[in-house]
Symmetry: C2
Subunit: 381 residues, 2 copies
């Protein structure tokens, strides 16, 4: 049996669709002495994480905690808790992650009504409201606030306003690429369930899914009849995260929670508006510079996300080869299209500590250098 | 909005039922440069983790990978994949974690047949085989190899031998407190699904659940009709962990995987038999010393686990107070009883880097010091 050799991974500037590089403070926190999951001193830290996460989501009521799993599980936990078999769920689909909501909702027994838009577009809110008019019994309306596969931002504030307080439907929003990078206001936008990840605009390593649940959603969950998977049982998780003495549910991923604590502190210290603006400046600079090089962006410019930019691979260029050369020659990760039906694109993320003009310039310089020495394929010559 | 203060947790010697202290090499690995989840260099690391984990489980065939979640989710993933609604599952229950298997199996639609034993005992294999004779259609037989709530080790090798190759039932084993601490041989013992955690005998931080799945179990999973939760879809996870190019499923908790890589390397370098023996020596020394102080152990001595020792709190002593004083005065965590029905016990774990005579002596010295100055409650005076 080989014992392998000790890990020795190369340095990377992580400018794909996530993970982004971990903030030094979050990384350092993982070297702090580890407490047990039932240690009262840890429980104080948990309470602080909840308070900080409330600030990041702008969610005062309901339940806020980081799920002990990745963003995809945050999506699944929401669907598993909010839907019961046979319920109607209306899902906006304009990319990979909208389609993933559909798939997971079906696994949990939902009757899904898909409302689709082309890649690079968003699903207009009036089409979602029409679907809701046709299915007034719908339990859930799900949208992707920041569609990581295309770089589209959904007009979520407007959707919340148009839904209003009267409608009974629960609003779920995928905030994986938006939390702490793009304006987001859980309470004011009438969101009932939001989920995110730690490794994008928050600047912590991947492994947790910060979620927020409205009081209305909690009431619905409390009255459900069908069981939910134990791992995603939000009411049981609430007893660990907020009841004191805490009720054991699972052994919390303690060092990940340390990292999240520090990452969230950095968000609050920087200030949410300032952090959103930093992401905005870096992303717009990248996008303007790419356009100035005659590169075409995938997303509708009116709905272009700041933290994530999808770029069409120019005709005749081997996009995968360019990604590999960025990695091997410049130590920079950029992403490609996601899933088998994606068009040839690159996806460039400027998130967390990487949301700066300096990092944007490094990516552009490397891309310039690679493209200048790439052969144009015969078919396009 | 408060920003809290930077984390500053106290030092702890973690000798409860887990987590144990993280091995220095595993901790250091988390500071290595983070790669993206689709980086080819990361995928080499994933392949090494799988190979090392196969060695730790002694599992050559089937599917082996660490689930991106904690041990409880490893339990749930097994039940969710192996059971379809209406299936019969026979579950051995002699403590908290056997009872948890029952609860989670029911959430996933199983008709559960419980075979119970008293706390501190194990469920004899012949009673499990009798239950199987009464329910020849049972799809699953589940046991807890190392019952962390009581310190009981199930005779799992014997169960596998008695089941033999002819019976169709799948054997699931909770190896949360046994993997890398107690003899375990996945292939030879006819186990079909094993799950563990990273934070006990392996010496990594909590956050992943190393699982092993037999070829027979995989065949059963491939032919199932009911969907499984996406997060726990073992066939989809297989495509990320073993197919190349890897198929995206979720953003892997990369730093946790780094830590597991190094922790598993340490297991293989030390040697499994040597590591088992180290846990055995430390545990037996602790148990002998506690008995010499007239403290009574909960578990049947014939089935006493080495890594985890449950001790009856002596009459008239406030067990919770003793735990708190161990923590506050000596920086040592020991556990209490788990769940509302547990008797007054302490649970002492000597796992991973803590499975040494030196650590056992530190725990005993601290316990001696605390007990010497504890008032005996009036009721027992």
């Amino acid at each position: 049996m080989t014992t392998s050799t000790a890990l020795n991974p190369p340095q990377r500037l992580l400018c794909g669709p996530g993970p982004s590089n971990v903030s030094p403070a979050a990384l350092a926190a993982m070297q702090q002495p580890m407490l047990g999951h039932l240690d009262p001193d840890l429980h104080e830290i948990l309470s602080e994480v909840v308070a900080l996460q409330r600030a990041a989501y702008r969610a005062d009521g309901g339940l806020v905690l980081p799920l002990q799993a990745t963003g995809t599980s945050g999506m699944e936990a929401g669907l598993a808790n909010l839907i019961e078999p046979g319920d109607v769920a209306i899902v906006a689909v304009c990319g990979f992650f909208g389609a993933r909501i559909v798939e997971i909702a079906r696994r949990h027994g939902a009757r899904v009504v898909e409302v689709q838009a082309e890649l690079g577009e968003h699903v207009p809110n009036d089409r979602l409201l029409e679907a809701l008019d046709r299915h007034p019994d719908a339990r859930l309306l799900a949208v992707v606030h920041a569609e990581t596969s295309t770089g589209i931002e959904h007009p979520l504030a407007e959707l919340g306003a148009e839904l209003g307080a009267d409608r009974d439907v629960l609003l779920m929003a995928d905030c994986v690429t938006s939390l702490a990078g793009v304006p987001l206001n859980f309470d004011a936008w009438r969101i009932d369930y939001g989920y995110s990840c730690t490794q994008k605009c928050l600047g912590a390593p991947p492994g947790l899914s910060p979620v927020a649940v409205s009081e209305r959603a909690l009431e619905r969950i409390r009255s459900r009849r069908a069981p939910v998977p134990f791992s995603f049982d939000l009411l049981a998780l609430e007893r660990y995260w907020t009841e004191r003495p805490a009720v054991y549910h699972h052994t919390a991923p303690i060092l990940q929670i340390y990292a999240l604590h520090e990452a969230l502190r950095e968000v609050v210290i920087e200030g949410l508006p300032e952090r959103w603006e930093r992401h905005e400046r870096a992303g717009r600079f990248l996008q303007d510079t790419l356009r100035a090089r005659d590169l075409e962006l995938l997303a509708d410019p009116e709905r272009q996300l700041a933290p994530l930019t999808a770029v069409h691979v120019p005709e005749g260029v081997d996009g995968k080869r360019v990604q590999q050369r960025m990695l091997r020659e410049h130590g920079i990760e950029i992403g490609g299209g996601l899933g088998p039906t994606a068009p040839p694109i690159w996806r460039i993320g400027l998130m967390g500590v990487n949301a700066t003009l300096e990092v944007a310039e490094r990516v552009i310089e490397a891309l310039d250098a690679v493209l200048a020495t790439e052969p144009v394929l015969a078919s396009a010559a």
